[in-house]
Amino acid sequence: MGKDTAKLARGPLSLKKELTFQSVMLNYGLYIAMLATFATFAIINDKFLSLNNVVNVFEQAAYYLVCAVGITFVLVSGNNDMSVGSQIAFSSVIATIFLAQGGSIPLSMGMMLVFALVIGLCNGLFVVIIGLPPFIGTIATGYVVRGIAANMTKQETQYGLPAAYTQFAWNKTLGLSNLTWIAIAITLLGLYILHFTSFGRKVFACGGNAKAAEVMGINVKRVKIACYMISALSAAIAAMMLMSRLGAARSGTAETLHTECVAAAVIGGTSLKGGQGSVLGTLLGVFFIAMIRNGLNSQGVNAYWQLVFTGGITLLGAILDSYKSRANAAV
């Protein structure tokens, strides 16, 4: 009761408070950091901000963006999915083997989507129904599916995709590569579902306050499981894109993808506690990380530095998130 009366005394929203350094950094920190790093790279390397380079970055990040959009759903619903990288490895390996033996392309895609639904459902069962901690449950399913893929391939890279499949990634439509178009389409679809449909609203409600959502007649468990399935579906689509781009599949692929996706989403304003986030933010986060990677690459920075860098970014995102939610709670 004390807190409510306190808020009353302070008025609903004092503008003064909104404009402190802290709140500016919390709300616009990403943009400021983005501008600063872009400026730095642009000074070092005049090609950095060229249209060509930006388009190129976008194309490289396409599959990762698709994955991150899926993970955003899981994060907003208040859970986490650490298995997406393994899912990509699993479904791309199976589909590549299938296609190399002369299987039909639509059938392979259908197969991947069905597998995705099953894996997503398993994640949902373990985390939502049995109640495993989301991280443990999804990491463990990730281990299982990646292990199966490794066993099928003996960790050898699988080739033999039909030319039509591999060519797709390199063809351009209206000046942008097909993969970029797919990523844009998936992002728009994700944006639409999360922000403009009743299902999206329910995701926010479940992540923001599961108890209240239950009282408001929302089937919380079903929504949360559906989010896992969405994440798995987007991972399957990302796997198709990766196969097309690389012309091959490997069981060891995308090992750090889940951290990168979570980092991108969190940097883009999605909360690790659930109930807050946006697909646009995730898009920005992905773009930010991809641009920095590109900048580092063009300066010839070692790939392992980039691992260190992603870890650092993830920590930064987590710290930002924790301060943000503390600031929100203190209002």
Binding site: T5, L8, S198, R201, A212, V215
Partner: protein, 506 residues
């Protein structure tokens, strides 16, 4: 003055404000060693704030606390422990998976040998002594969560004794005990009293106060309005102290009460579950039915059971004459029941979402295109704007985050959310808790308007004035049963409160 010097615990003129709102306005009282001192008062009277100050959880703004004649400076819970104050919490602060002895001795584990290893034998022996002192016959090596709630409470008392506590605060200790367990607890308290402890006993129930306390102080609005010897006072006197003369509150004129011939909307028969012992009543169309009782008496529990949030062992629910099975809030909403829960922050609002989203969560199907689920922004916005106007929500706009609203406006958001569902029955659990007086009046007005339009309301409250001002008919609950039914003009506040706290009715 002489009396005061003898007293073991003296509290003088304690003030406490939260963000500029004064919750304690100079409370003073004192209790002697070997005395059980009761503390009575309605919700928000300041009992728990005062006790939290004693326990070192809040710090006081001004005022002094003396223990055994010396001023005690209680800055945190450790300092309270050193001063010999122990708090027996409503929700137990224990370690469920550890042994009973470990729980009692965790703050001062005995050690032995050159490496200061924990001396388990000695630990169990000492713990056994304290267990004997509170008369709990369990082995010190039992895992704590194998004990019943009552036994766990006894462990907590034993823990307090092991810390040499001389002042023991019991905060509604009987709320989850059966009558046999309550008797055991009273035995322990009497024993502690004999050994010279100073005991503060917070309760809602006056029969308990009369049974166990030597003196009783009544708090109202952050002040001590009277201390009495229980031997020289009556239930009536306590009731009048608790109620006091309230500020005149504005209640709107209610629409006429529907007579017995009016159509019955909702009827429940013999609801039984863990907290309910056969609750039956009927709600007429256009009626405001009050459910009055203390916390834990079964009022909220009845509502939760009807709404499908709590499991029912048996009982029947009829909606407009036909029996319905309600297993989840979804089903309840489909049959036309809405429920405003008592804690809006935990169960009412998605605090991080904006007002617009919060308003339309329960009616998403109405504001979206069927099949594909696309939100029709225009429809939604016009509904939201209408709600703003009709239900007097004051905010910077529909995009303001619910967390940043004042309590009253938050409550209006939750209320409008349920008004907009067009349900036939609305259950309101403490709709004006934590709401300022202005917003309160507006909320009452809104409820009346909706009832005039044919809504039927069940109003749950522990404020007797709200019952008298807002209900056509009042049901009084105690221990999971309905123990009285009154028409609005047939009863008095004193009668209602007296019935609730369990003394004889006036």
């Amino acid at each position: 003055m002489e009396q005061k010097e003898k007293d073991y615990l003296v509290i003088e003129d304690i003030h406490k404000s939260f963000y500029g709102v004064e919750v304690l306005k100079g409370v003073s009282f004192s209790a002697a060693a070997g005395e059980v001192h009761g503390l009575l008062g309605g919700n928000g009277a300041g009992k728990s704030t005062l006790m939290n100050i004693l326990g070192g959880i809040y710090s006081k703004d001004s005022g002094r606390i003396f223990i055994d004649g010396k001023e005690a400076n209680i800055t945190d819970s450790k300092a309270a422990e050193r001063a010999g104050i122990a708090f027996i919490h409503q929700e137990l602060k224990l370690f469920g998976l550890r042994s009973v002895a470990e729980n009692i001795m965790i703050s001062n584990l005995p050690t032995k040998g050159p490496f200061h290893f924990v001396d388990d034998k000695k630990k169990n022996e000492i713990a056994k002594q304290y267990l004997d002192e509170v008369g709990l016959q369990v082995s010190p090596t039992t895992r704590l969560d194998e004990l019943s709630i009552a036994e766990q409470q006894q462990v907590e008392i034993a823990k307090a004794l092991s810390l040499n506590a001389k002042v023991l605060i019991f905060d509604e200790p009987t709320s989850s005990l059966t009558s046999r367990e309550t008797n055991i607890l009273f035995g322990i308290i009497r024993q502690l009293k004999k050994n010279g402890a100073c005991i503060i006993y917070i309760s809602h129930k006056s029969d308990e106060i009369f049974e166990i306390c030597d003196k009783v102080s009544v708090l109202r609005n952050g002040e001590n309005v009277g201390t009495r010897d229980t031997a020289n006072t009556t239930n009536d006197e306590l009731v009048s102290l608790i109620i006091g003369r309230k500020l005149d509150q504005y209640f709107p004129e209610l629409p006429p009460a529907p007579g017995p011939e009016a159509e019955t909307v909702l009827e429940v028969k013999g609801l039984v579950n863990k907290k309910l012992n056969g609750v039956s009543f009927a709600l007429r169309k256009g009626e405001i039915l009050g459910l009055f009782g203390l916390m834990g008496a079964g009022r909220s529990e009845t509502a939760r059971a009807i709404f499908g949030l709590d499991h029912l062992f048996s009982g029947e629910i009829y909606m407009e004459g036909s029996q319905v099975k309600i297993s989840s809030p979804r089903k309840a909403m489909k049959t036309g029941i809405s429920f405003l829960t008592e804690n809006r922050r935990e169960e009412g609002l998605v605090l991080n979402a904006d007002i617009r989203k919060n308003l339309t969560f329960p009616i998403l199907s109405r504001v979206s295109v069927p099949g594909i689920g696309c939100i029709r922004a225009k429809t939604e916005m016009s509904l939201v704007k209408e709600a703003f106007k009709r239900f007097l929500i004051k905010a910077t706009g529909p995009e303001q985050r619910a967390a940043t609203l004042s309590g009253g406006n938050q409550q209006k958001v939750v209320l409008s959310k349920w008004f907009m569902t067009d349900s036939k029955v609305l259950i309101l659990d403490e709709p004006t808790r934590g709401v300022d007086i202005g917003a309160k009046a507006e909320i009452y007005q809104l409820i009346t308007e909706m009832v005039e339009k044919g809504l039927s309301v069940i109003l749950i409250s522990c404020e007797e004035s709200e019952m008298m001002g807002m209900c056509h008919r009042i049901l009084v609950m105690r221990d999971g049963e309905i123990i009285g039914e009154f028409q609005r003009d047939e009863t008095t506040q004193e009668e209602l409160v007296g019935l609730c706290i369990g003394g004889k009715a006036v």
